[in-house]
């Protein structure tokens, strides 16, 4: 399972594993959408500690999660971002858009 989620009190934690590329993005987005629908979170934390690779498809995943949670007036935090993913987020200028914590 590329995404495992736990939620409590409308706080959703989603831990993402493996390679976040175009091939994996569809199932990650589907699962995140499903969990967001279930939890209706005020706060979403995306934990990328297990991500072994990310390209611009990963950016699309993060931006979609951000949009969905913002529709619920919630906030998103991205944590434990691996170095390769940080470089991709910076190259795309997305590091300005959401709260990152390494």
């Amino acid at each position: 399972m590329p995404v495992t989620c736990t939620s409590e009190d409308r706080k959703l934690l989603a831990v993402i594993y493996g390679e976040v590329d175009h091939h994996a993005a569809k199932s990650i987005i589907e699962e995140l959408d499903r969990q967001i629908d279930l939890a209706m979170p005020r706060h979403l934390t995306l934990d990328l500690a297990g991500v072994t690779f990310m390209d611009s498809s990963g950016i699309a995943v993060l931006l979609r999660a951000l949009r969905r949670v913002r529709e619920l007036s919630g906030s998103v935090k991205v944590v434990h971002i691996p170095e390769q993913a940080i470089r991709v987020l910076r190259a795309a200028g997305v590091d300005r858009l959401m709260k990152f914590e390494s």
Partner: protein, 147 residues
């Protein structure tokens, strides 16, 4: 400059082959003793180019994607990703950050990332005939490394 080494791989435009292409490029690049950052940058650029071919080149069927890898004496690497698909109508517009013809699940940042991580990027396309993306990166020579 003639390449000192070259390898070509051809694969079906299935998304499962995106990881395969990254691995092939990383393996080939190992000869240059890259840093982890350089390895990551090239893998990412390859991923973007190959994903573009897989997503866009053959909209209603599967086709073949070719990736040619070359190493040069000055420690630079060239990657060419080529397809015989639908082609790009307006290459300049396609290279604009955030522009995508791929719908909501695409970020439109593929070319931006390739440009950021590689030293040079050339895109040639002919609608109805295909597209080739050629990029080069100079890999740092490290003191004490073996070639």
């Amino acid at each position: 400059m003639k390449p000192i080494n070259e390898a070509t791989t051809i694969f079906l435009s299935r998304s499962a082959n995106e990881g395969y292409a990254r691995m092939v490029a990383a393996c080939f690049m190992a000869q240059l003793d890259p840093t982890l950052d350089e390895l990551g940058d090239v893998k990412t650029a390859v991923s973007e180019a190959v994903t573009n071919a897989i997503v866009h080149a053959y909209p209603n069927c599967l086709g073949m994607v070719t990736m040619r890898l070359r190493l040069f004496e000055d420690s630079s690497m060239e990657i060419m990703v080529k397809d015989k698909g639908v082609g790009i109508e307006d290459v300049e517009r396609a290279r604009t950050p955030l522009f995508t013809t791929g719908g909501g699940e695409r970020s439109g940042m593929g070319f931006t990332i390739m440009e950021s991580f590689m030293d040079t990027l050339k895109v040639r396309s002919s609608p109805g005939k295909g597209t080739s993306v050629t990029m080069r990166k100079k890999i740092s020579r490290r003191v004490g490394g073996t070639r």
